[in-house]
Symmetry: C2
Subunit: 299 residues, 2 copies
Amino acid sequence: MAAQIIDGKAISEQVNRETAVLAAELMQKHGARPGIAVILVGDDPASRVYVNSKEKKAAELGFRSDKVVLAATATQAEVLAEVARLNRDPGIHGILVQSPPPKHIDERVIIEALDPRKDVDCFHPYNVGKMLIGDQDGFLPCTPWGVMVLLERSGISPAGKHAVIIGRSNIVGKPIAALLMQKAKGADATVTICHSRTPDIAAFCRQADILVAAIGKPEFVKGDMVKPGAVVIDVGINRIADPAARNGSRLCGDVVFREVAEKASWITPVPGGVGPMTIAMLMRNTLRACQMSLNLPVV
Amino acid sequence: MAAQIIDGKAISEQVNRETAVLAAELMQKHGARPGIAVILVGDDPASRVYVNSKEKKAAELGFRSDKVVLAATATQAEVLAEVARLNRDPGIHGILVQSPPPKHIDERVIIEALDPRKDVDCFHPYNVGKMLIGDQDGFLPCTPWGVMVLLERSGISPAGKHAVIIGRSNIVGKPIAALLMQKAKGADATVTICHSRTPDIAAFCRQADILVAAIGKPEFVKGDMVKPGAVVIDVGINRIADPAARNGSRLCGDVVFREVAEKASWITPVPGGVGPMTIAMLMRNTLRACQMSLNLPVV
């Protein structure tokens, strides 16, 4: 048996097309254009790549996008001043601070300074709390929401299933657990969350109807850790050495794709699985922020 | 084998004694007296009992306590006006609205109107989010925090254990899961959360090293659902008919105490287990709110 591929590239493109249509409607009916601002502190090359891809996607969807580049030596007060300025800018609906900022910046302070209505990453405690409570009329965190959309658009219902999540990060593991456990359409799973202090992760993995790997360890999940017929969602993006590859390395997930695809019923590839969903949901949150600013229902 | 009893009455009294000492210190060193205000809308008899016991405990600990009683016909605007007044009152550090308010009041709107720094129930999304993120320098929700303190003071470490929680309420199930899964001292459990849509709850219960019953169904957890040596925390408080009882009914938890006590290593009784912890942690949150208002570290 070979698993069906959950095509994150195709599904993210579908989401993006819908977002573009909704954005065009907003412009037509309300004269409003969603605007996103990304604050980049320092010149970490990986961060630059992420910021550029966000800008490019925003432009594709017809959004305004501002990039605010601060020197690596910028003080916390300078970053906060930019946040305050963007909080006030009525043309900017979403603000995000590219992670990780330099060590002298307290990211938590910056995030709490964001107007929660512009917190399109859904990192502000207010929005995190709303998510856990089950109030889904605002923002949802981008990668976890992307996972939920992948399941939904692949026709996979988590209701009554046992979802096992490996990893308890604030950005992925905890919010995916929170979303999957809700009493809500597209959720209603029994959820187990495993992590570095779990003595026998494999034993939990083998129980999973839906297995979400978000542990950040290359190819951690082997074929023998997966129940036949399970749905496997690989959130990991790791670069590992590969002498056979052109540049000596290749991207891989937290799952040994080839082995696990033999046993799973559905699986996300890396790249082309969860990855492209994150940015698609970021743009959808920005659209939602614009809708909220007009007191329109969010879509 | 008979389980050891986790004596919530004794532990809550210990916590309360410490709170009283800390409150006396606050008064001596800073001239500050913790103040709590309870808003009661309508005259639900059970709510009155709860509010009275909160007032009584506050008085015992040397706190100021205000009771604001509004008619069952009070409008939402009237409740919000009281919240706004108490938000401004520098002598009041904790505010809570007794649940459930009458149906015409939107509890969510009331809770979001509370100054998060005075939200001693830890119901405001901002505080719920902080808790999930793992930021424990503010409030923790009272009953879940009480469960953590019961474990800690009974010398039971959840680290590396499998905790199974039955129930996903916003007040108990979800926050207990959130606290137990944290990368933190006294936590670090692998956590499974089961609920009404879990097909075979018993199978999950039998895996639990720590079983938390918070489903609100009298005597739901039977002896054969518990692994020998498990720690069993019973959050349920139910009143059931009992012809043998003096007034024809008795209190019971979500666990069949007699059966389960034969298999568990530790168990909380009902009453006298989790119940008294809730109010003890509410008072501790009020003390913390007073400490925070003075920019002191919370204890």
